[in-house]
């Protein structure tokens, strides 16, 4: 059963000097517990899709359903993580984490216990009274992850959350996020520039093309790679073939060909 469906979603950006069509007829469906990635060149509207699903803005056209309910009417929580942590520098780690419950007026002793447990899950126990400025980039991003998880979101949206980190931290965090998503059986959408990251973390990959943004092709990540930790996926014998296959399409896409193929592939 489809958990999240986008049905012919289009989006325009308007300004006084004109308009751009950021998304055109995006249709996709994601199952519960699935981890999908969206990759594509800059300006293809990857982040726009996430912003729309996060209900930060409304699509110009089309319908989105979460658990068979129109997204706009749904009161289900959606987690959204940005490229940088955007922890509030004047709040302690604990206060940052409790932002979601605070906004919804649901802070209880239970939430604090839950927060401490999640902190322990990301190996950040004992930091609850620290301020974000005392933590490194990777630690801050882990706190941001906890801040997102504590609202118990139905679906997690990652907008290049690892791109501002150094390579070692990034690999460690990839493993951690993949493990957490599996433990809590969360549905997740990852937007990234990094093809290796997309393959190592997800079950399915949407390749987008630009101007207007639409889904050019969908790739299934081989079964054997899906349950491996991201770090080991990169060394798996099946990793390189799928990497090369997507890489080829990425480059074809830049020359703006193969549009005939896309329509059949979309319904995979």
């Amino acid at each position: 059963m489809a958990f999240l469906t986008l049905d012919n979603v289009s989006h325009y950006y308007f300004s006084t000097t004109g308009y751009t069509k950021a998304l055109e007829d995006i249709s996709l469906s994601i199952d519960e517990g699935e981890f999908v990635s969206i990759i594509g060149p800059s300006g293809c509207g990857k982040s726009t899709i996430l912003s729309i699903i996060a209900r930060l803005m409304q699509q110009t056209e089309g319908h989105i359903k979460l658990k068979n309910e129109p997204l706009a009417d749904s009161s289900l929580n959606i987690g959204y993580m940005l490229q940088q942590d955007y922890l509030f520098p004047w709040k302690t780690v604990m206060d940052n984490i409790l932002l979601g419950p605070k906004i919804n007026g649901q802070i209880t002793d239970q939430t604090k216990i839950h927060a401490r447990q999640l902190l322990a899950d990301v190996n950040m126990a004992e930091t609850e009274n620290d301020f974000p400025s005392e933590l490194s980039g990777g630690m801050r991003q882990r706190i941001a992850l906890v801040r997102t998880l504590i609202t118990n979101p139905e679906i997690l949206l990652f907008d290049e959350p690892f791109s501002a980190l150094d390579y070692v931290t990034k690999l460690k965090l990839e493993n951690l996020v993949a493990k957490l998503m599996e433990t809590y059986n969360k549905t997740a959408i990852l937007v990234t520039h990094d093809l290796g990251e997309a393959i190592s973390m997800s079950d399915r990959i949407f390749l987008m093309e630009t101007a207007p943004g639409r889904i050019a092709k969908t790739f299934e990540v081989p079964e054997e790679l899906r349950n491996e930790a991201p770090f080991f996926v990169r060394r798996h014998p099946k990793y390189q073939p799928i990497f090369d296959k997507i890489w080829k399409h990425l480059n074809d896409d830049m020359s703006d060909e193969n549009k005939g193929v896309t329509t059949d592939e979309r319904n995979n």
Partner: protein, 268 residues
Amino acid sequence: MKETIDRIFYDNYLKKIRSETRVVTIWQLIIFILFIAIWEIASRFRFIDPLLFSSPTKVSQLIYEKIIDGSMLNHLQYTLFETILGFILGTVLGIIIATILWTSQKFARISDPYLVVLNAMPKVALGPIIIVALGPGFLSIIIMGAIISVIITTLIVYSAFNEVDPNYQKVLKSLGATRSQCFKEAIFPAAIPTMISTLKVNVGLSWVGVIVGEFLVSNQGLGYLIIYGFQVFDFSLVMSSLVIIAIFAALMYKGVEKLEDWLIKHTT
């Protein structure tokens, strides 16, 4: 052994810093003493007209007399009270108006040209109108002290509200925050350092407003003493009032500086 050597280097460093501070203080004292001495000598030997420019001995004598008979304290109290009230009123009103502007974009756009005109306007020129409207009393003077800083505070704080990184709001909105919650959790706290820095500017502005106000109406206060001394050609009185104003304006500025340190420590 090694530690004692480290210690010596550090002590030398401290010594150097201390001796630099001493040199600065000594020069500050020399300039002050020279200024007083030259003023006194020039007045005694009639290089300047002692009737117009008075002399340090005459000024200090007058101040002493006025303190003894209690009249200086009376005038000082009056002016200080008006300045502090005008300062607080101007700052608080400015922040409140900025908040209203932020709440309604449309209202902000509509009021923009009026704010520009009011800001460009020399506020002390409104003095006569304020006095006619509110009566020649201390209410008018407080309003003068406030009106001089309120518009500039509004503009600075409003632009600080708008410069807060929009991603903080994105985070909050994705957690389900309303616009007023965004203001409370992100916009207002992020603008606190700007508000604190307007305090320092405003304290100087309020002195200007109050002294001009007292020029115009009052029969009490340091501004009144200046005008009175001018009218009866008692320039020792004018100079005495100036010295008192200089001392208390500086004290108030230092006080605000201390308040600023405290606020920064306790809010960020």
